[in-house]
């Protein structure tokens, strides 16, 4: 949280408390502001929150533990398809949300461990390619497991997925208050996702300032030295994979329920790379970076889409670059330029791995103690 606060331009350093309130205010008011521009913008915000969760999870793997996972989106797929299997007419199973969510998370974590186990000792670039292969394998299976036994319904995907139902409260239904006041379901989803993202941030913040966070940082910095002080790097890597995968899986389950429909298309390599770009753009290894990166790179293509299409119409008479292409262009340029010009990311905050201390009280005249206990 502190890093996020410090990242606020101008205000962050001068008055952190005010910056903190600003962030809270913006977070709460955002959907209302977006609503003014049209309903679809609130939807876009909801997706941005999902991307934030993905970026946070990938940041764990890439930024904290230093493992370049290019197949990250596979965990998103696992979560989404789990939800689709267990809450849709496809198998005609309709488990409640609070049952499916942990299941989705567990399956994703399992997938993370299964992937992590064999690839742990590979060096950086090989790890990247193998994880990419894993992501592709998952996608290929999703695409083709409709014959001879129809499990995933192939390229058509699974639709009519149950919406999120919190103990009877269906988030896909608008809430009527009185005669003329309606809270749209997109708002409900927004705050639910916001809560999830906030919980994630708190969890990751705590991880960072813990022995686990320090072990990851050590491992990322110098793996040999980390082993030399007793850190079991294999287990730490597995843990990073599993946790990162869990975030992906949870986000995936939320995605499945929210969109109501999943298909292999949503889980392509391009999506893995998009999430990676968000992490890189924001700043690898720090929490604020992942949040900001996801926010900017989820929103910007949509803004461009709204602006660029009519702009091209007026300038050229027809659309040269359609929104999809614009998004890809934006992401690839962001990735390249960041690495060349500002590899630390937009928010190059140094992550803290211990609680904020004031040195003064330790510099008092405490007697020299023994080294051995």
């Amino acid at each position: 949280m502190n890093e996020l606060v410090a990242a606020v331009p101008w205000l962050g350093k001068r008055n952190p408390t005010a910056a903190r309130w600003l962030i809270i205010l913006v977070a709460i008011a955002a959907p209302f502001i977006a609503w003014q521009f049209g309903r679809s913008w609130v939807r876009i915000l909801d997706f941005a929150l999902l991307y934030m969760m993905l970026a946070l999870g990938l940041n764990l793997v890439v930024g904290f533990a230093g493992l370049l996972d290019l197949g990250y989106i596979a965990f998103y797929a696992v979560g989404a398809y789990t939800f689709a299997f267990l809450a849709s007419p496809h198998f005609d199973v309709h488990l409640p949300f609070w049952v499916i969510l942990p299941l989705g998370a567990a399956f994703a974590a399992l997938a993370g461990v299964m992937l992590g186990f064999p690839v742990l000792r590979l060096r950086g670039d090989y790890l990247a390619i193998v994880t990419l292969g894993f992501g592709e394998i998952v996608r290929i299976f999703m695409l083709n497991l409709n014959y001879p036994v129809n499990i995933t319904n192939g390229p058509q995907g699974i639709n009519m997925i149950d919406p999120i139902n919190l103990f009877g409260w269906d988030l896909s239904r608008n809430i009527r208050i009185g005669e003329d006041f309606t809270i749209h379901s997109l708002f409900l989803y927004y705050y639910f996702f916001l809560a999830a993202v906030v919980a994630s941030i708190i969890f990751i913040q705590r991880l960072q300032i813990s022995r686990i966070g320090r072990a990851w940082a050590a491992m990322r910095d110098d793996e040999l030295a980390a082993k030399a002080i007793g850190i079991n790097t294999r287990d730490m890597k597995l843990l990073a994979f599993a946790l990162g995968a869990t975030f992906g899986g949870v986000a995936g389950a939320l995605f499945g329920a929210f969109q109501g429909f999943v298909s292999p298309e949503s889980f392509s390599l391009m999506e893995s790379i998009a999430v990676l770009t968000m992490v890189v753009f924001g700043g690898m290894g720090n929490l604020a970076g992942a949040v900001v990166g996801a926010f900017v790179l989820a929103l910007l293509p949509e803004i461009l889409r709204d602006v660029a299409v009519p702009l091209q119409q007026t300038l050229f008479g027809h659309v040269l670059l359609d929104p999809e292409v614009l998004r890809m262009l934006l992401l690839s340029l962001a990735m390249i330029l960041m690495m060349l010009l500002r590899p630390a990311g937009m928010i190059p905050a140094r992550a803290r791995y211990c609680h904020d201390h004031h040195l003064s009280h330790h510099l008092n005249n405490t007697p020299k103690r023994e080294a051995a206990k």
């Binding site: 940082a217 082993k227 030399a228 002080i229 007793g230 140094r350 201390h357």
Partner: protein
């Protein structure tokens, strides 16, 4: 005189090169033990085999009565042997405090659940680790740099930090690889005092060093390696006069500055 570490017939080859052949030595609890020899004699290789960075091709280590696992560095640390590196391997982007706290990892147990819930056990452990880290920084004399990112520390302070980090693993045997390299006479004197203090506080120390004066003044016993074999093992006064040792060093090795 309790034996802490016994090396039995340690052998290690790299392709055609026999880096260590049949090296056996004993280190007694509470002593400061030196490992010296000309460049390329195999001293760092010995450290690497001991701490599990390499697997030996022959022989084994017996530590505190039981055999050390080979090839598993983190397990060796768990058993109580910590090391520093010849060319300093700190976690450069972490602060001095964080480096030392990382060293305490292996003696703590808080897991994911504890981190998530911040239960009492986890918070207590974290507090303990922080306290201990400050203590150790104070012990080696760099407490005022606790929040400095370690790559910004001076060379001498970095060496001291590495020792503090190794001490955080609560070792019984501290293995230092050329801790005095690059230090001037004053710094070397301070290092000597630190090592003596460490020994007085109950930790056995083994060090590789080229600084002959330091070794002779500090070590209780010394072993000499040459071309991968041990050619002498005794108190410094005796080793200094050993003919084979003199022959090995003539034409190589550094002398006291």
């Amino acid at each position: 005189m309790i034996t802490l570490l016994e090396a039995r017939n340690i052998g290690k080859r790299f392709g055609g090169l026999q880096a260590l052949s049949d090296v056996s030595l004993t280190i007694r609890k509470g002593e400061v033990y030196g490992l010296i020899g000309p460049n390329g004699a195999g001293k760092t290789t010995f450290f690497n085999v001991l701490t599990g960075a390499y697997t030996p091709d022959g022989g084994e280590f017996v530590f505190n009565g039981s055999e050390l696992p080979s090839g598993k560095p983190h397990k060796v640390v768990g058993r109580g042997i910590a090391r520093t590196f010849q060319n300093i391997r700190l976690f450069r982007d972490l602060t001095a405090l964080e480096n030392v706290m990382a060293g305490h990892h292996i003696r703590t147990r808080a897991g994911i659940w504890g981190v998530l819930t911040q239960n009492r056990f986890t918070r207590e452990e974290e507090r303990l680790t922080t306290e201990r880290a400050y203590e150790l920084l104070r012990y080696v004399g760099i407490e005022r740099f606790a929040d400095v990112v370690s790559k910004n520390l001076s060379y001498g302070d970095q060496r001291r930090l590495e020792i503090a980090r190794a001490l955080a693993t609560e070792p019984q045997l501290l293995a230092l690889d050329e801790p005095a390299a690059g230090m001037n006479a004053t710094e070397t004197g301070q290092l000597k005092q630190l090592i003596q203090q460490i020994r007085n506080d109950g930790i056995t120390v083994m060090l590789i060093e080229h600084d002959v004066k330091l070794v002779m003044g500090l070590c209780d016993r010394v072993a000499v390696l040459d071309f991968g074999s041990k050619i002498a093992e005794d108190v410094p006064a005796v080793v200094q006069k050993d003919e084979a040792v003199i022959a090995a060093y003539l034409g190589g090795g550094k002398h006291a500055n």
